[in-house]
Symmetry: C2
Subunit: 165 residues, 2 copies
Amino acid sequence: MALTAESITSTALSILSQYGLGDLSMRRLARELDVQPSALYWHVKDKQSLLILISRSLKAEVDALCPATADPLAAAMSLREVLLKYRDGAEIVLLGYSITPPDVAPQALGADRLGAELSHGILTLTLGAVAVEQNRRLFAIDPADAAENFAANASLLLRSSRRLP
Amino acid sequence: MALTAESITSTALSILSQYGLGDLSMRRLARELDVQPSALYWHVKDKQSLLILISRSLKAEVDALCPATADPLAAAMSLREVLLKYRDGAEIVLLGYSITPPDVAPQALGADRLGAELSHGILTLTLGAVAVEQNRRLFAIDPADAAENFAANASLLLRSSRRLP
DNA sequence: ACCTGAACACCGTTCAAGT
DNA sequence: ACCTGAACACCGTTCAAGT
């Protein structure tokens, strides 16, 4: 199977969901793809740019789940769900969102839809909350009422966004 | 100077504010303290527990700036300020808050004051927003209106907390 | 009690050289 | 164009041994 940026990304995604970011090394990735570590660098600039490819792929997954006109609270819940599918999804997407916000923000939560300010608010709240939640899972600390708790805070923040375009 | 957990933490803090988390390695820390890397492990369990010591120290810094009865919005702004002093403060405190919330949450923003739900909301919003802000600084992307933007979202979230104990 | 020295099992990245 | 092999400059952590 020929090596491509896509095959690298999808193998990374699978390592991520099974083992997490701690095990996602360029060397481990290369081993999984039966290739020398240096081979990856012909397809991908460096590890950071791979993480950005990953976060774009997660955005696409959220967009497939909820269209641009979806209810913002429902979209935030879907984003959370997708982030949770991959062990350190929130940390990675936080990086991607920092560097290229429009490429990573789900349509239903983008600046076009909610305005720059509120879009940034709901995204940073979601990324922060899920990052904490994922760290806690790592340490086997109570998940418990994480979903309801997040929903409550997200809806407090979004309270001002009733009646959208 | 005798090596202690405190001297290790404060040297770590200084590396952090000058160079950031990428340069905060156990080996680098040991070099700065004129000691073998292995010496650190007598005083500190591992790197992660050092990061938790660091995040407790930042909590103390915020508490010194604003007492338990401070206005929550003002406290959130102070927390942001302190996090910004140290290059990857938000990422580190996010880890600390994940593992031992009460040891890391500033008094004025703790669960005792705001209730578990809202306390978690304002803290994850702050940590998420500042983590993004610090990543952007790393890449020399616009700081610009980050403070006002954060203040706006934090006050949206805290809107429900008027009239406190 | 506190620290050194050496070792183990890793990293990300570059680059000449091969095909 | 695409990949190998070897190298460079690092990591965190453990552990016998020294003082």
